[in-house]
Amino acid sequence: MAAITSCNVYIPVWRLERGEITKATGFQSLGGERSVACWDEDTITMAVEAASGIVDADSIDALIFASTSSPFKVKQAASLVATALDLKPDIFTADVTDTFRASTNALIMASEMVDSGKYKKILVIASEKIPVKPSTLYEQLFGDGAVALTVEKGSDGSDGEGDEGEVEILGYSSYSKPQPGAWMKAYDDSMKDFDMRVDARFGYAANLQAAVMPLFAKMGLMPADIDRLVISAPDPKSYVGLLKSVGVKPEEFFFDKVGILGTAHPFLLLAHHLAKEGKIILGSYGEGSDAFLIDVKSPLKSNLEKMVKSKKKIDYGEYLYFREKIGERSYPDSPSPVKYWRDKKSILRFYGMKCKNCGIISYPIGRCCIECGAKDNYEEVRLSEKGRIYTYTIDNLLSPGNYNADGVHPHVVAVVDFEGGGRVFMEVTDIYRGKEEIDVDMEVERTFRFLNEKNGFRYYYWKVRKPR
């Protein structure tokens, strides 16, 4: 039987109060706030963030990336995420996409793969940054974020003792039915729908029921055997309506704090419920439903609470800048994708070199040591995730991402000394218009981010930010 063995959440630090949307656009506020990815975050970077807290790189033998909002139509996100996480190259990677059930689809696949005995530890990451038009309902409904789970073979339930974080997936069932729902055609630039009320009335509850009932039958369950329902929903009203209709008190849905994370939302809710013992039903919705019976034998801690609390507010203007709806981003250089590909061990896996002659760790990897010049005499080492600013500047002649200056967003750059060695020149991100405090000797953390797009190629690289 498969078990969930770790869970880690990434919610971008930025929050937009829905009241700010109303102030700027007049569109009625649904209350609370939503998370907003920084301009240099997408589903790939957030997936890396979510997983980096729980991954022991060498132990992972498969990675499944679940999202409806990958920045690529053709190019596997899972492969890029696995590389940034420095996972082994000989693992199975897959993207599961196109529906808000993608995350639970992936969890079923991971469970089956573990049960087959051919895979030991699978990383499943759900990540969303759903494109929406400004001043629409979807802008208020959705939030941005990612959740990572690891799935391994359970402890076969024979010991009876509650190990810490023992979470077994006891069973699952699915129901598939096309609904009008929400959609994006292949070349659409934002989420669309016919009329959300159609789904709310005829799709959501009916689909979930159709998925859950066979699970009850298969597992020989009575409603009384279930401690909590952990059900995602297309909107908060549908969620409350569903739980009330079966006589259960609604629980934390994170709409006021984060928004609905699309296909990552079932995992976000799951992260919340893994912290408390009990048998739960996990349900997702999108062209049907997936339902799971999960037994939290002993609580599994995650960083969910920390991620929800660690936040900085932005106004609607900055939100529009983050979404590239305002401002110009031009970049005079034409970097070579070939160099990017050739140097990927340094660029994506973040390896430097330790000179076997003088012992100095430097970055990036090159034939000769930057300190002593020794030729071809080094070992490759991955640099730490934590470092300290040796010096920095706030450069008004450029904007973040190496773009030409826009006069609003200066380029904050720092010389960072990493713990254990290696010095790298890096952009400091998650700094509001370069106006937040930054100083020599400040501690920073490494974060995988989108760099820029040039000549049609999308560049990613590591940056640093203040620790969350």
């Binding site: 034409s334 070579s336 002649l397």
Partner: protein, 382 residues
């Protein structure tokens, strides 16, 4: 090595929207040739610098503007030290005896490529590295020096005030007005902590020198020549931010180039044996660190020199009596050549209104890139 400078030519530095690089080069070259009392055809070989490819690449950057064909001409490029590297190549060539009369020239038209800082060049840095403007590169040094030594923005402003005070009197300077500390401190921020007046300007200009050996110089111009005693040059890394030993409190290229130049010229105590200097004040912080790297004071004491007026034109060791890059702007390849022209004016006692008292020996210093290339020349009376 002793090489004679027998002719100098410098255009007005500034915004030459109406002229192209060819026009500026022709002006500087003919001024130098006329100053030497020779004809252009007497020049046997040329080293001409341009940093930006749009101002011409290869030896054709000189041959075509002057229609000077059939002679050896090399294009030189070595960041902001391009100008002095031209002279280094020309000087060693003439000293070797391979040629008798040669020219070193530099020209740059920065304004043709926009006025917001020096234009970014494609392919210098790896695609993933954060881009950094020239002020940004040197701001890294300023922030570390502030932390390490307690220097502040007023110390930097004093450098700008001093150099503009001098430059206001120079007929060929780009900026010819004095400024105050308040004006400098209240100016817009460019790259923290460097404000507008901490930065040298984006300018156009050209400069040229005619070089020969002293025995030929005597025949051509009598005693009216200056002597290049030495030129030191050092190239360090373009990634100082990747080198763990880099302190950002000293520029190793300058330290090494200065040592080389002092040694070649037989100078043991620069403070006593040299009378004044022209340093690369691309940014005010650079000038303060240059004081230290040129051995005019100990590490950490650079700011004290400016506070105490040591480097003022009437101080114990005048620095940038011409007004420096702060007043002239910095048309990259032209700057180093212009600095050597200034040394010549000073040691020949021709720096009207800006003459350093008893100026017999002076040095000029170029620092380029992210402090990766430096050159130092020492020039004296014959």
């Amino acid at each position: 090595m002793e090489v004679a400078i027998i002719g100098t030519g410098v255009t007005k530095f500034g915004h030459h929207w109406e002229k192209d690089q060819e026009d500026l080069l022709v002006d500087a070259v003919y001024e130098a040739v006329n100053d030497a009392g020779i004809e252009l055809k007497d020049i046997e070989a040329v080293w001409c610098g341009t940093f930006y490819p749009f101002s011409g690449i290869s030896g054709n950057n000189f041959s075509d503007p002057l229609k000077f064909f059939g002679k050896p001409i090399s294009r030189v490029e070595n960041y902001c030290a391009t100008g002095m590297d031209n002279i280094r190549n020309a000087a060693f060539a003439v000293a070797s005896g391979a040629y008798d009369i040669v020219m070193a020239a530099g020209v740059e038209k920065l304004m043709d490529n926009g006025s917001r800082g020096i234009p970014y060049i494609e392919g210098i840095f790896p695609p993933y590295m954060p881009a950094v403007s020239a002020p940004g590169m040197f701001a890294l040094a300023a922030n570390r020096a502030f932390k390490e030594w307690g220097w502040n923005r007023e110390d930097l402003a004093l450098v700008a005030v001093k150099n503009h005070y001098n430059g206001a009197k120079h007929p060929k300077a780009h900026f010819r007005s004095e400024i105050t500390v308040e004006k400098a401190l209240n100016a817009p921020m460019i790259a923290y902590p460097l404000g507008l007046y901490d930065c040298s300007a984006v300018s156009d200009g050209a400069a040229a020198v005619v070089l020969t050996r002293p025995e030929i110089a005597k025949k051509l111009v009598g005693d009216e020549y200056a002597v290049i005693k030495s030129i030191g040059m050092a190239v360090e890394t373009i990634h100082p931010w990747a080198r763990p030993s880099e302190t950002f409190l000293s520029f190793p290229a300058t330290v090494k180039a200065a040592k080389m130049a002092y040694k070649q010229a037989g100078i043991e105590n620069p403070l006593k044996e040299i009378d004044f200097g022209i340093v690369h004040d691309c940014f005010t912080i650079t000038e303060l660190i240059n004081y230290q790297d040129m051995q005019l004071c100990r590490p950490g004491e650079g700011a004290k020199l400016i506070r105490d007026g040591v480097t003022a034109i009437d101080g114990d060791f005048p620095i940038n009596p011409d007004g420096g890059l702060k007043s002239f702007g910095h048309p990259i390849a032209a700057s180093g050549v212009r600095m050597v022209c200034e040394l010549t004016r000073q040691v020949l006692g021709k720096a009207e209104g800006l003459q350093v008292k008893d100026a017999e020996v002076g040095f000029a210093h170029n620092l380029g890139g992210p402090y990766s290339v430096a050159a130092v020349s020492i020039v004296s009376r014959p």
